[in-house]
Subunit: 357 residues, 2 copies
Amino acid sequence: MAGIKDVAKKAGVSVSTVSNVINGRHAKMGARTLRRVQEAIAELNYTPSAVARQLKSGHIKTLGLVVPSVANPFWGNVSQLIEKAALKRGYQVLICNAERDPELEANYMTSLQGSLIRGTILGSSPVSFDHLREHSEKGMHIGAFDRASRGAEGIVSCSVSVDQDLGARLATRHLIGLGHKKIAFISGPIGTSSRIARLEGVQRELSKVGLSIDEDLIWLGPQAAGFGDSQAAELGRTAARELLTRDDPPTAIFAVNDMYAIGACSGARELGYRVPDDLSVVGFDDIIMAKVMEPPLTTVRQPVEQMAELMVARLIETLEDEDGPAEPHVILRPELIVRSSTAARKNSDSINSGTEK
Amino acid sequence: MAGIKDVAKKAGVSVSTVSNVINGRHAKMGARTLRRVQEAIAELNYTPSAVARQLKSGHIKTLGLVVPSVANPFWGNVSQLIEKAALKRGYQVLICNAERDPELEANYMTSLQGSLIRGTILGSSPVSFDHLREHSEKGMHIGAFDRASRGAEGIVSCSVSVDQDLGARLATRHLIGLGHKKIAFISGPIGTSSRIARLEGVQRELSKVGLSIDEDLIWLGPQAAGFGDSQAAELGRTAARELLTRDDPPTAIFAVNDMYAIGACSGARELGYRVPDDLSVVGFDDIIMAKVMEPPLTTVRQPVEQMAELMVARLIETLEDEDGPAEPHVILRPELIVRSSTAARKNSDSINSGTEK
DNA sequence: GGTAGTGTGTGTAACGTATTACTAACCAGA
DNA sequence: TCTGGTTAGTAATACGTTACACACACTACC
């Protein structure tokens, strides 16, 4: 690979001159010199080394992005939106799949920090941020996506999230309004702040009308860790099968996200249940698939485009501005999108005796 | 940030000694010295600068990965599998969303090359690789994923792909066997090698039984570029609506990938068509969603785990071994997965007069 | 003729690490 | 005492770039 010195030698000038050309500082440069340098660059097929530049300048216009898994369409979509928003501001994005594993997360963070990256968006949101305190103290600015900052003060610089609690309450209220009383909540291991908030929202809304959620109806999957988001649909299917083969099955399921909801629909159908006639299902996120599946899914929409924009803007502000963003923590309103996977509860007797096997 | 020099000073040794400790060369080192260095590292919270290392060593254990879009579940899944395979071999992966745009692709490649990356897996597969010739000549090794090497000799170092033609033929044969004669092919802009191969496969198989595909039944979407993979489902839906409202609609649709197929099912349902009773739909890829949707999708499975493994292994071999992999180009067999989105053709009269509006 | 100003470039010290060649100390054997 | 070999650690250099101070040749002006 040709370096700046080779170019300088070929053009018969000093390296500084070449550097000036590369960086567009040729205002007061002889036309002949400029041309000779440009020719040498073209001839040698020279590309400046980004690495050397970084080493010299001490920082780099790149943001880290840690997500549970791009194999999950929600996070795949978010990743793309974040990348687009960052690119627009001259930043690149480094995507890391952390599989909701705190150790992997910390490893990635170390590696990002070694690359001189000073800002990272954290899409996965474990309850505790303790494993990231060290990095935060070393100067890594962390932006939390999809989780409020509560519980991570001093570690998280900014955050953008939907009001998880409100979202869950909207969904629950909708189901209650349709006459459902036995509402199940399904999720994978509940180790993230957003999931906890969603569950609490359900409980809060139910208790407002004098109902409460039976412990049995909170399905959290195999407690064993290591379940990435690729299995979400599969877990949702299992959840539905387990819940619906019980003696007194729920008439509605609120899933922690759309992938679980899709899986739940599938599991229910396998048992002969029709959605929404025999079982109502509500998801969360409103991924593209939700609109297109059969039946179209009732779900809680997160305004992801807007969230991605805000997140990137906030994080870049904390990096570039002396005193950071004026309002570092923003919480947006989710929106309930009613489609066809929910319906009024049928007479429960007919379900119990009719459809069940 | 503490540097190696700070550590050396604190421990009272030279920088080289610290370097030796970091890189595990402390076999013949005094126990006391070793301990002092380790303590200093811990106390200063020192992390070696990856950038400086790269600059010094001249290369880096990172692979580039250029995909059309991680928002497409197929590519999201592939990205994750490739990352896992690379990590296992001590390599990291840099994911880039190129949106099937040759210019963006070339830009990313330049940026990767500036980062000293010497190997990139190309998931998007435009027909022509000319825009990458320059990078290949500068020493970037390119591995083509999901497309054969034909037409890219001298630019692509290795490739892993499914036999696209065979996959399309399996799907077509299946539909023919069910009595379908009017089979539509739907896809976005047909600017990639894999898509062309799939279309050709359909045509070849049809002509084997004396049928041929009507030009009108090849639906390629709006020719305008810029359609990323996030719109795939939406395009599939539009395709179905357009095809099925014609005078003499097809009885089966073969979609270029599962997202289009899912969209097509949705579009068909909106018009009152039942899948598979009134319309058979076949996809390609076998993404997770295919099994779980309603009806479960008949599709052509790509063995993505195996492909990711092979791709990473091949590319690393070309980087590390003098003479590269023994067999750089591998083509795997796809498999037809028959589920419930395909069925025998009904009497065509009943369709024409009965269901259509 | 001296000073200042302007237009063009050059020389060199960093950035944080890895590597090479080197030194100093010690020991064993003749 | 000398040679040779091992061990433990050091000093110096290079990696490719950028930023800053400086050099040189003109012109202009008092």
